[in-house]
């Protein structure tokens, strides 16, 4: 064999040397020149497919050769690619080689030639390149039709991110062609007279339907291609195989991106097992089932191959079958024999193989957390007793199992919920009390906190309260309080009591909680302050002297009414002297009061300290209602006694009194100048005593306007700046004026009162009553001293002796009824007297002498006579008014009266009106007295002029009784 090899090598060397020599010397073609070169085009892959042969190889001769390939585009001189291809060449072998063009082959003519060289180790001498083969042309354009435009490649499939060259071959002028990628015009490179190319780099995936590229010819014809850009096929992720029953393997993976397109289906997955040499095409894109061989194959080497048109990806996994057992989910998980503190859990599993053991984990969850964990090895049935459970508590038991031989994965969990039964409450309720006196009896409000779920051991149904009178043991109180209540009120005697409280559920009652109420009234302590911290209130106290068994800190809020506030307390040990009271219910700006009690050995509580504090002090939310008083010209007093400092959102430290003085006035002593938020300047006085709730503003100017405003302040600031109240100081002398006016007013008032009281006397003195002639003293005097026949003059006895006639100016008219207009003319007519009887001057005979005591007479008659008209009303009967509505009637009436007097009509039966000469012609018209007043008659102070009868008793005058008076009165003349 070795001899043969040496011989062959020798032969080759000899042969090569000979051929080289021949080619150099004889200029003949070198041996092994590629021959029969054929070039074809594969448009689908844009490939040039080359095939050639190498002649002159000896029979069974094999040589390692290198072929150099040259490719030109458009013309042979435009070499665009040169490359070598190495292979082993046999005699008469047709060699194949392909070249993929980035430019679609339809757009350009390509030329290919090949040459070779022997590159065989058996030939130590360096080889010589053979001659080039002749150029072979690959021209796809010949196959194109006569369309004006062709675009290539057609519907090419590429991967996202790759580069693609699109070209077109036009039969028309290039300028008339516009090309667009997804509607956006792009510009290419002109490769030839009628060929242009567009290099698209890093092409993106746009849609499964492909990316549209088209060219428009003269905005008329349209040609285009679709570039199908696929997502890059990725390697499957999380490839894993497992079995649930040692019979079927299930392999799963994450397929990642789907590379499916219209032109390409989604990637396919193939599972290949190398030991068995079997493979299966997976039906799903993320899962594949594999039947375990019956020959107890334990090792498996799987290769998962993902494949699409463009790429393949594979992942591999090697494993032992028993190491990949993932048991099925247990089933029939039930609790049984559930008690207050224990329960038995049972479950089942499906067998794996023959007589295999499963390792199960039982977990107990309470309130979502794993509180117990137990491992159990089972074949088929599992059971476990859970203990140390809490009564009346809901638990979740869950189980999962793994293959005991080799742990791979837990099975899926199965869970079941159960609740333990109730038990009697384990501790008594935490109790506290408040004591207040109501009607002389101590009233205890007993509070307790609901038992925690941990201690209640079930639903609390009621609380039992037993109050034992320590002084009189026979007087005890037993109460049963519903569970919904957390307090009760007991009215006790002034004795010491021992109170027991128990909580009860359906199973039993809790241990009793005890508290002792002392019969002694509690002591009072001064209130201190407590500071707040980030955690709450830090309360500290002086420990009780003696043996305190503990302390209790109670607190409540003293805030707005809408703030829910209940008594809270905290029990502390005997050695504790401070604590931090923290609560989420604490709010800033709310006053909290703390009381620290010491608990004696007898169980009684004694108040040690009382403190108040704020979690955070706020500025006062409102200002006091300020009352101003004692206003003088120089001062006034402000008071706000109703302002409560307790219910404020902070400790009131004092008050600010703001005063706006009048313009130009400086701040008073004690005030300081300050600028308000509205930039106004005023004076501020600070009262640093919160209990001082009055303030005297002094040193004011009289008759000056001031404005004041009072606001409290805390450590957080002052109250809101409300409106100022205006006040004006009075005049400085106004008080003196008051000193004068008041006595004067008093005196006047006294005089008026005296006048009122003495009004009869004054009336008597100033305005005496009209005397009644019949009651006159004169009458008695006359009767007694003189003629007993003398009597009071009767009007009827009087004989008119004259008629007063008044001349009235022309045009004046008499108005009587229906009007109250004065009939008095501005110029009163001169009166004239017609003596109808002999007067004193012409009267010769004796006659009665008539006397009047004064000038007064019947007022009605006076008015009637003086005004010249009747004061009649429209309601007056006509017969009363009618006779006097004309002068004639008056005269008739006079005549009638005269005639009546002659007939001696009793005076008391007649109503008389007297018209006196001295009587004013009209009331109030003093200036119009008659120019010729009648002379007074002898023996009389007043002279009777006439008497005018009034009333219905006066008979109507007859027409014959008119006498001559009608002739004496002219028309238009008035009478009185």
């Amino acid at each position: 064999m070795a001899l043969f090899a040496v011989f062959q090598t020798t032969f080759l060397l000899a042969s090569l040397s000979l051929r080289t020599y021949q080619s150099e010397v004889l200029s003949e073609p070198l041996p092994f020149t590629p021959e029969s070169l054929n070039v074809s085009i594969n448009s689908a892959c844009q490939c040039l497919h080359l095939q050639w042969t190498v002649h002159n190889l000896a029979y069974h001769q094999e040589l390692e050769m290198v072929f150099q390939i040259q490719i030109s585009r458009f013309n042979t001189s435009n070499v665009i690619w040169v490359g070598n291809y190495s292979t082993t060449v046999k005699r008469k072998q047709v060699l194949h080689w392909s070249w993929e063009s980035e430019l679609p082959l339809e757009c350009a003519t390509h030329f290919v030639r090949v040459r070779s060289v022997v590159d065989d180790a058996r030939i130590p001498e360096p080889g010589f390149w053979s001659n080039w083969s002749s150029w072979e042309e690959a021209n796809a354009q010949k196959l194109l039709g006569h369309d004006p435009l062709f675009i290539f490649p057609k519907d090419k499939l590429v991967e996202e991110g790759s580069s693609v060259t699109i070209c077109y071959v036009s039969r028309i002028h290039e300028d008339n062609i516009s090309c667009y990628l997804e509607g956006v015009q792009i510009y290419g490179e002109q490769l030839d007279r009628n060929v242009s190319a567009f290099e698209l780099k890093n092409v993106p995936f746009i849609r499964k339907q492909g990316t549209n590229f088209f060219c428009e010819v003269d905005q008329g014809d349209l040609r285009g291609v679709v570039l199908f850009v696929s997502k890059v096929l990725e390697e499957p992720k999380d490839f894993s195989c497992e079995t649930q029953d040692l019979k079927t393997l299930t392999c799963t993976w994450d397929p990642r991106s789907d590379t499916g397109l219209s032109e390409q289906p989604s990637q396919s997955y193939t599972l290949f097992e190398s030991f068995s040499g079997k493979k299966t095409l997976c039906k799903h894109s993320n899962r594949c089932d594999w039947q375990v061989a019956q020959d107890s194959q334990e090792m498996y080497n799987f290769t998962l191959v993902a494949e699409n048109y463009l790429r393949k990806r594979s992942v591999n996994i090697l494993f032992n079958l028993t190491h990949r057992v993932h048991p099925m989910t247990p089933y029939n998980l039930f609790p049984k024999n559930v008690g207050a503190t224990n329960a038995t859990i049972t479950w089942k599993v499906r067998t794996i193989g023959n007589n295999s053991t499963l390792w199960c984990q039982l977990e107990l969850l309470g309130e979502g957390k794993v509180i117990q964990q137990h491992n159990v090895s089972i074949k088929v049935n599992g059971e476990y007793l859970l203990s140390e459970l809490k009564p009346d508590t809901e638990y979740v038991a869950r189980v999962h199992c793994a293959y005991a031989k080799r742990f791979w994965k837990w099975s899926e969990l199965i869970s079941q919920t159960f609740t333990t039964t109730e038990a009697a409450p384990s501790v008594g309720p935490d109790i506290w009390r408040t004591v207040r006196m109501v009607s002389g009896h101590p009233t205890v409000t007993l509070f307790w906190k609901p038992l925690s779920k941990e201690h209640a051991n079930g639903k609390i149904l009621f609380y039992n309260v037993i109050a034992e009178n320590l002084d009189k043991p026979s007087e005890s109180v037993v109460l049963s309080i519903p569970a919904s209540a957390n307090s009760t009120e007991l009215t006790l005697h002034q004795c010491s009591y021992q109170i027991y409280v128990t909580a009860n559920n359906s199973v039993g009652s809790s241990p009793a909680s005890r508290i002792v109420i002392s019969g002694d009234p509690g002591n009072e302590v001064e209130e201190g302050r407590v500071n707040s911290t980030e955690d709450g209130f830090s309360v500290s106290w002086t420990p009780q002297s003696g043996d305190a068994t503990g302390y209790v800190v109670e607190w409540w809020c003293d805030g707005p009414q809408d703030l829910p506030c209940v008594l809270q307390w905290k029990n502390l040990g005997p050695n504790t002297t401070s604590t931090v009271i923290s609560s989420g219910a604490f709010r800033p700006g709310v006053r909290y009061n703390f009381r620290i009690y010491g608990i004696s050995t007898k169980g009684t509580a004694h108040l040690l300290e009382e403190k108040a504090g704020y979690l955070e002090e706020w500025a006062p939310s409102d200002n006091p209602q300020v009352v101003m008083s004692n206003l003088t010209s120089h001062s006034f007093v402000l008071s706000w006694k109703d302002y409560s400092t307790e219910s404020q959102p902070g400790f009131i430290q004092g008050y600010h009194v703001y005063l706006k003085p009048k313009a130009g006035e400086q701040c008073h002593p004690g005030f300081e100048k300050t600028v308000l938020p509205d930039n106004s300047v005023c004076c501020k006085y600070t009262i640093d005593n919160p209990e001082q709730k009055t303030f005297v503003v002094e040193n004011l100017q009289p008759e000056s306007a001031y404005e004041f405003f009072v606001t409290p302040y805390t450590s957080a600031g002052h109250g809101p700046l409300d409106a100022f109240t205006k006040v004006t100081t009075p005049d400085e002398y106004s008080h003196m004026l008051i000193r004068v006016l008041l006595p004067m007013t008093f005196c006047v008032l006294i005089v008026l009162i005296i006048c009122y009281l003495k009004s009869p006397w004054l009336k008597e003195k100033c305005y005496p009553d009209i005397p009644d002639p019949y009651k006159s003293s004169v009458l008695s005097l006359i009767k007694s001293k003189e003629n007993p026949h003398l009597t009071i003059m009767k009007v009827n006895d009087c004989v008119p002796d004259a008629i007063e006639v008044i001349n009235k100016q022309e045009g004046s008219k008499i108005q009587f009824l229906g009007t109250r207009k004065s009939l008095i003319e501005p110029e009163f007519p001169k009166p004239a007297y017609l003596y109808v009887l002999p007067t004193e001057k012409n009267y010769s005979g004796p006659g009665p002498c008539i006397c009047f005591e004064n000038f007064t007479y019947n007022q009605a008659a006076s008015d009637f006579g003086s005004s010249g008209h009747f004061p009649g009303t429209p309601q007056a009967p006509p017969y009363q008014l009618g006779p006097l509505t004309s002068p004639e009637n008056v005269l008739k009436a006079l005549e009638q009266n005269y005639m009546d007097s002659l007939d001696e009509i009793p005076a008391r039966e007649a109503n008389l009106n007297y018209v006196s000469q001295l009587a004013l012609p009209m009331s109030g018209d003093k200036n119009s007295l008659p120019a010729n007043p009648p002379e007074p008659a002898l023996c009389s102070e007043y002279k009777m002029q006439m008497a005018i009868p009034l009333g219905p008793t006066s008979p109507p005058p007859s027409e014959n009784s008119s006498l001559s008076s009608t002739t004496l009165l002219d028309q238009g003349e008035h009478y009185h």
Binding site: K154, E182, T211, N212, L222, R223, S262
Partner: protein, 203 residues
Amino acid sequence: MSRREGSLEDPQADSSISPLPHLEAKIQQTHSLARLLTKYAEQLLQEYVQHQGDPFGLPGFSPPRLPVADLSPPAPGHAGLPVPERLRLDAAALAALPPLLDVVRRLQAELNPRALRLLRRLEDAARQARALGAAVEAVLAALGAETRAPRPEPAAAAAIAAATATAGVFPAKVLGLRVCGLYREWVSRTEADLGQLAPGGPA
């Protein structure tokens, strides 16, 4: 076909309940169907361009309105023709459209296999075009006019399908756009032509 889509499978069935004379009822029904299909054709076109990507959905994109299998858009002088002649042209076009719509549906089934609504619309459009064409022919027959509608040649459509498949996906998209556009134009044209005969329309 549901009545909502304007079924004319039994035009005589409604004549008994219609107060209109038979011819008017037929014209009225056919006109209503054409009006309904005009709306559907517009929806089909919108649905189609949505699945082809840009530039098909762009407003300015308008491929040349070249004939497809000798089916041209309505000529500019179409409105000037006598109504029976117009209806004959309408009927002929509507008869030529179903195979073309089927070709488009098959092409789209390859290109957009998951565009089920588009495929269903294309299928419905072919059936509806056929129904409308038959209804127009019935109107022509009722008018006493000769139909003379050339029967569509399935071979022509098949040839188109084959040629388009060879030409590539982009020409197939363009073909679908043209066919959908022709469908919309001819249905709309038919609606307008029937409107000339319908009661209330111009005589």
